[in-house]
Symmetry: C2
Subunit: 641 residues, 2 copies
Amino acid sequence: MEKFKATFYPQNKTVEMQPDENILSAALSAGIYINSSCGGDGVCGRCKVIIRKGKVASGSTGMLSREEKNKGIYLACMTVARSDIEVEVPQESRVDFEKHSREFEEFKKKGVYAEIEEAIEEKKPIKEKFKRSPLVAKLYIELPKPNLEDRISDLERLTREIKRSKEFSNLHSGISGIRRLGGVLRDADWKVTATLGIKDSAFELLTVEPGDTTGENYGACFDIGTTTISGQLVDLNSGNTIGTKITYNKQASFGADVISRIIYAQEPEGLEKLNHVVIESLNQIIQELVKEHSIDPNNITCCLCAGNTTMIHLLLRIDPTFIRREPYVPTANFLPVLRASEINIRINPHGLLYCVPGVSSYVGGDVTAGVLSSGLDDEKGLSVLIDIGTNGEIVLGNADFMISASASAGPAFEGSGVKCGMRAGRGAIQKVEINRKDFEVVYSIIGEGKPRGICGSGYIDLIARMLDTGILDKNGKINDIKSKRIRNSDAGKEFVVEFKENSDFSDDIVINEADIENLKRAKAAIYSATAVLAKHMGFAFDQVEKFFIAGGFGNYIDIESAVRIGLLPDLDRGKFIFVGNSSLAGAHSALLSNQALIKTQEIAKKITYFELSADAGYMDEYMAALFFPHTDLNKFPSVRK
Amino acid sequence: MEKFKATFYPQNKTVEMQPDENILSAALSAGIYINSSCGGDGVCGRCKVIIRKGKVASGSTGMLSREEKNKGIYLACMTVARSDIEVEVPQESRVDFEKHSREFEEFKKKGVYAEIEEAIEEKKPIKEKFKRSPLVAKLYIELPKPNLEDRISDLERLTREIKRSKEFSNLHSGISGIRRLGGVLRDADWKVTATLGIKDSAFELLTVEPGDTTGENYGACFDIGTTTISGQLVDLNSGNTIGTKITYNKQASFGADVISRIIYAQEPEGLEKLNHVVIESLNQIIQELVKEHSIDPNNITCCLCAGNTTMIHLLLRIDPTFIRREPYVPTANFLPVLRASEINIRINPHGLLYCVPGVSSYVGGDVTAGVLSSGLDDEKGLSVLIDIGTNGEIVLGNADFMISASASAGPAFEGSGVKCGMRAGRGAIQKVEINRKDFEVVYSIIGEGKPRGICGSGYIDLIARMLDTGILDKNGKINDIKSKRIRNSDAGKEFVVEFKENSDFSDDIVINEADIENLKRAKAAIYSATAVLAKHMGFAFDQVEKFFIAGGFGNYIDIESAVRIGLLPDLDRGKFIFVGNSSLAGAHSALLSNQALIKTQEIAKKITYFELSADAGYMDEYMAALFFPHTDLNKFPSVRK
């Protein structure tokens, strides 16, 4: 097959294209970074380029308007060359790393994270359905002293005693924990605590401490999200959560979504920088928790991380490049156990780091952990789990089968990429009522004080009420209504939720048409992905018996509003179950039970990944869902009523 | 029990002694280093102290003369306090680290090592009696490319293919070898070589390289001796030895024997320094071998080390303190497998390091490897293996049982601590004849040129001839004979073997009475240890069917002479078998065969360690052997004749 050349402007770089290579991919090999948050699925519409010369073939897409098409604009990811071509990359399609960094700084300035922990802290003890067997255990032993008759080496003496406990009969030893063993044993008068971690189906002797320290054995579990990282410190003896923290993922300054991060990782030292900052974020959580709860970090003997596939690659400094290249294959879904210190996580230097296995490039260990904690994999009836984060992941199935997909929702529901967005923390507007007559707004916020922004559930409520009151039409355009709250802006019309004088925000708290467009695409991506999965398996939505809703803002969501805008299907409301941060909850379970960790491996193996971009019907479903609630109102009988 | 105080002079330091703690041990806890090369067995006589005040109880020892006893001199290791005591530590009993360093520099200046390799290089291929299965294997694989139907992760794809080979069905992966796996697989068009190492009874995927590199897979094996280190580079495909090198153990500048090293390891940073220099020595061997044979060090995928227990502790930076404290227990005899790079050995950074397991503090992995290579553990008849290095280790047994002991021979036979000593290299006097009438000397040297010194086998020959010609009496004293070759010196009388003008040595080449005393103690220690083992098991020497002689100078030893001086028992000469550097040969076998490595583990477990110092009869045997050949000439019928 003939190979064509592509020349990119304004960079004036030429590359030879592989047969049927799309322009997005060719640009990358020329070192030109084009925006793309859907991973080349043709659904985010961010990779627009202008073909100045040459012939191309392009897949159909609803992301381009007629005018754009007339101007020679194409989506780079959906377009291949049929001759040598010249491509112009407009400013807005170029990845602007500096802009990401600026945006992130702005986002941080809103300062809404400082006290967010109180909001997400799980006060109720998590139900332990797995047999307690922490990944790292401590065992107190009193050894018989050596004498001239019994003088096997210290290590053999120790392992001989440990192996008397049947549980630890398959035991290995590393080197780092035994270098000072002789002194430790003797100084402790042969009464010591051995720390034993599960690795490769056996136990590894990690370290030996004088005396009985079994009372102090902690683990840390993390949900590493693209935007935020949640961490918990867990008492491995009692199973109690000592504390929970949430922080930014500092990687956000290198790009808002996984695709931008993967692109950044290809920069010189890019992977190292991304790796460094995510570990900084984890260490910050650990440091704050141990300080607050007066715990010696040496008594944290293990870490367990759940996260999307890209986050886990970056955490372990594994090159993530191929996650975003067809056929979207990650380097590893099942990750080896390593020393936490190998990647500079500051717990006990001999402590271990585990990762919950993922399913595919876009369905990661966070979803596996979510399935574990929701119990979907044990359900008899048809169930759905949706996790709405920067990506929206959906699992449909039960004890017999599971199928999953990832929808490029974007971070709008997480409060990013929308003007007044914030996460569900103190000061976040979470519920909204609008007076039908004068459009005055009544709202409630999380915690006390003045509003600081709008969280995901607030946006859902807000849009639902704007629809109810006729402020917004089903296309997502704000109607021409005479009100002090409705006005024009740079980002289309906007609706003022609260004026500056009554807020703790630097400006009026508003929602504009660009925000609404972002939120509409996000909800459409999630709804249509769920619909495609059900259809693919031959189910109708009303056959779903349990619909688990996970994600940071899940607990605050108003089901009626979510159905009203078409984010959730129009099911019997009793079927919806909020599971909160199910990724963190699953990680918590696995930290406390090897049986649970093994179960995550079984779950990851069992889940089939469904590639939306390879499905002919997905784009149609998505286009149909780009309305509030949907083109086909028959699908939303309760809304139609 | 009452605790007494000991005050040491001239240091003027006081410590509280533990009940029944000996003075040597108390001195150490006061930070005072007293010479001791027998590990506190009361047989080296180097820890003499003067009790100035107080009551003591002391075990009987032949190491002190009547005059010494009258002067209040005691062996610190054999003496405990019965009241508060004042102890004077004479200059000659103090460990002088600077002196060690100076001596080592002198030893090096003799410059006899430069071309020593030619002498020890094993040209003949080593017989492989074990099934070839290198500890680290390379496997070339052509992977099916992923596509939208088959898109498990890269790592799972790779391991799926590797596991098709039944041999590798138990497979784990580390993290460091897979970080760039995605790029490697695609750049190599999915044709790659996986490097797989045996660890904890499973295989670990160490690294993946593009293309077929199976043709280049090398291992390095080492015998780490107290004085010298021998290393071989081995082609793991053919089993051929690529090259052999010998070098100083640079640790020698911190003390001549293991005891001094252990003492030095307790200095601040002492362990780190000892560790650093031994690894420098290993790296030097590797570097020279890869340079000479144009081999990429990245293609060396594993290292295997055999060495005495102290050497292995220092190699792995394990605190060796307790090796020399009763009851003489090492931290570990069985060592975990680790990455060679963890201790800065410069081979492939993902390559593994194995150690041959040891038996006890004073019978190390070098002996285990020696048993493997000699085949003693498969013998039906009673056999003996002696390995004469800085310590003399003896194994007695056969396929049914094995018992071992370690005799503190000192490094005299290795050419250290004797005035004109050198190892068996170019220029070493190795055979000597003395004219009965005029005492003129005829000798042969290793290689060509002028003599540079006397090696172990040369000393044995020399003493035997001095005995035959009446120059030396059976006590080891040089008789008053009028000859230009016999004269007085600072170290008693001396006999000139060659005058300066005919030598490449800086002075006349001589043997003096102090040398002879050293050599006599060394041979007595080895002979008596062997005798005690045989006696303990109820055997007479003439029941021995095979007597394996290992050690650097073994190949050059003259059996008649060795029996003449009483180093070897007076057996039928056909029973003696030279096995050369059996430690290195055993390491070589284990490098090429996991079956052999497993066998070393079985051997180490099977060998019983016999503590000479705990045996009532050992001192008597030793004292009786402090003559040439022995007090009891009936034991040496061929000499009597």
